[in-house]
């Protein structure tokens, strides 16, 4: 008996966004990366195209990540004081598709690093690796607004993915992207309506930016409200496939950042005997969070633990295998 396979016909597809720029394209990257472009729900190759695999970016900081749990720090050996070496290790040894450079040191409460300091670090990292870069500020609005312009200018043409534009504060990032040919992370606080509106606001500044936006729906960690993010992503993606072009952007999730501050990643087993070994549990917390988000349509995962990265890359390999009937 031949079962009649059910294939949905969608009206539309996810926009394809290119990250990074090679020499010919005005940058210095040895490779560029494409994300998005799918015309079906996650990994349903049997009914639509999934032209680009989801990618994994690994986080690199401009300062030593003091607050990370010991087992996470240990996984990197002695490179955590040197962003360039750290980035290189992520790419060469751990297989990172991109580097997400976070300027934690720019935080007025950390080192209050200046735009020039950040640019120096950025240049070193650009030199050390050939993959495209994501750039995050320190998370403090005023400071980030002050440094994002100069950073964008210093890397003109590299097509960095610049973080983060928010509803109340999108102009400085979007302007930097517009002026210096970068892409933008549009971040909304677990709110699909704001996610959509923000894309419209950005596109009103410049229509071509529509194809250079990546949505950060704000993800929550496993056990901390991840189901909200999961459902928002599923709704956005379903809407996008059904023709909602203002939600049809690829999505990025700050997995490592959310996960590694949670108790499950650092409480030792002797404090919570029911939770099992802390080292294994912590990286599983990160990889399972990422796994769930992939199933809701995540295109770029920003992660920390090399072993979790390895696991999720393997999971992606498997899920990218054709399952047509």
């Amino acid at each position: 008996m031949a079962v009649e396979i059910m294939k949905e016909k969608y009206r539309s597809q996810v926009r394809e966004v290119v990250l990074g720029a090679t020499k010919d394209e005005g940058g210095t990257r040895s490779t560029t990366i494409k994300v998005g472009g799918e015309s079906t729900l996650p990994f349903l190759h049997f009914e639509g195209a999934v032209p680009n695999r989801p990618v994994v970016a690994m986080e690199v900081w401009d300062v030593f990540p003091e607050e990370w749990p010991q087992n996470l720090k240990d996984a990197f050996g002695d490179v955590l004081n040197d962003p360039a070496a750290w980035a290189k290790k992520c790419v060469d040894e751990f297989g990172a598709d991109l580097i997400a450079l976070r300027f934690k040191g720019a935080d007025p409460d950390v080192n209050d690093a200046s735009a020039e300091d950040c640019i120096a670090v950025l240049k070193n990292v650009l030199e050390a690796v050939g993959v495209p870069l994501i750039v995050y500020g320190c998370g403090k609005l005023e400071k980030d607004n002050a440094i994002i312009g100069p950073i964008g200018e210093a890397a003109e043409g590299e097509n960095l993915l610049l973080g983060v534009a928010e509803q109340e504060n999108y102009k400085s990032v979007a302007s930097a992207a517009m002026a210096y040919k970068h892409s933008v992370i549009a971040q909304s606080p677990i709110d699909i309506n704001i996610a959509k509106q923000l894309n419209i606001l950005i596109s009103e500044m410049s229509t071509p930016l529509l194809d250079r936006i990546v949505i950060d729906p704000t993800i929550a960690a496993l056990g901390y409200g991840i189901e909200y993010s999961y459902s928002i992503m599923e709704r956005a993606r379903f809407g996008a496939l059904n023709g909602d072009r203002m939600l049809g952007m690829p999505m990025i999730g700050n997995v490592g950042h959310e996960v590694w501050s949670k108790k499950e990643t650092f409480i030792p087993v002797d404090e919570e005997p029911g939770w099992g070994d802390q080292a294994e549990r912590s990286l599983a917390w990160e990889s399972v969070t990422a796994m769930a988000l992939l199933q809701a349509g995540m295109n770029i995962l920003v992660m920390r633990h090399p072993q979790a990265v390895k696991l999720i890359k393997q999971n992606i390999d498997e899920l990218m295998q054709d399952n047509s009937y």
Partner: protein
């Protein structure tokens, strides 16, 4: 609700002139304009302009497609003209329309299956338009059963419950609403529904207001599409709003613009 832009119709003077003089300018202008304002299809109707409806239809389809990427809705009672149009359509089109009359259904559903076209079926037969919902639905059911018998997915069928002007057939109003609701019970997946929106306001004074209110009421009862003035800003805003309230689009503050710009 999808708007089937009604403006390319030989009833209008500029289109009639275009057809007679084979000057595509007006046709293409309207094609572009309706697309830019969010129409989902372009209705193509030769109207009374010329006697050779077959070649006029073919020409209209060709020139409209040069200006717009929207699918076409071929509007004629002359099935040869429709077939001529279907032959030149670059993507699946919609046939407008067929009543629940057996020999007509045979011809139209055969064409639809050959050209992979959608079909508008009218809830009427030789005896005309019934008044009560039950009889309208029975005719709709005949259309559904015939569509199914030709192996055409029911979701490619649009049923038009047929609207009468509210100043003549006021008592039809509630029946039309009820018909729209019941059509959704006919099959799973159900057929879609469509109305000729301006029929409701023929001969009345404030036509735009009546059209607009009728559109949102019908949407609440399950209306999927309307042949309407795709350039009526207030109608479009009302439709966009109804789509939000019915949870068909995801809200954002600029939802009206998003709806309008969906073809850009």
């Amino acid at each position: 609700m999808i708007i089937i832009g009604e403006r390319i119709n030989g009833m209008f003077r500029d289109i009639a002139k275009a057809i007679r003089e084979k000057d595509p300018t007006a046709v293409q202008e309207w094609a572009r304009k309706q697309e830019a304002m969010g129409s989902g299809y372009l209705d193509i109707n030769v109207g009374p302009a010329v006697s050779d409806r077959v070649s006029a239809m073919r020409w209209l389809c060709e020139v409209a497609q040069e200006a717009s990427k929207l699918p076409l809705c071929l509007d004629s009672t002359d099935y040869d003209a429709i077939e001529a149009g279907l032959e030149v359509c670059k993507q699946p089109a919609m046939i407008n329309s067929v009543p629940a009359v057996q020999e007509k259904m045979d011809r139209v559903f055969q064409m639809a299956s050959k050209y992979n076209a959608e079909v508008i079926g009218l809830a009427m037969n030789e005896e005309g338009i019934p008044k009560d919902a039950e009889s309208r639905v029975a005719l709709a059911m005949e259309l559904v059963a015939n569509c199914d018998a030709h192996g055409i997915p029911i979701s490619n069928l649009y049923i038009d419950p047929l609207v009468l002007p509210c100043n003549v057939g006021q008592d039809h109003g509630p029946e039309v609403m009820e018909t729209l609701r019941q059509i959704k019970l006919l099959s799973d997946p159900p057929p879609k529904t469509v109305v000729g929106l301006s029929n409701i306001s023929q001969g009345t004074k404030d036509r735009d207001l009546i059209n607009r209110i009728f559109a949102v009421m019908a949407m609440a009862n399950g209306l999927d599409a309307a042949i309407a003035d795709g350039c009526d800003e207030e109608l479009i805003a009302a439709v966009a709003t109804a789509r939000i309230i019915l949870n068909m689009d995801i809200y954002c503050d600029s939802y009206v613009d998003v709806f309008k710009n969906q073809n850009l």
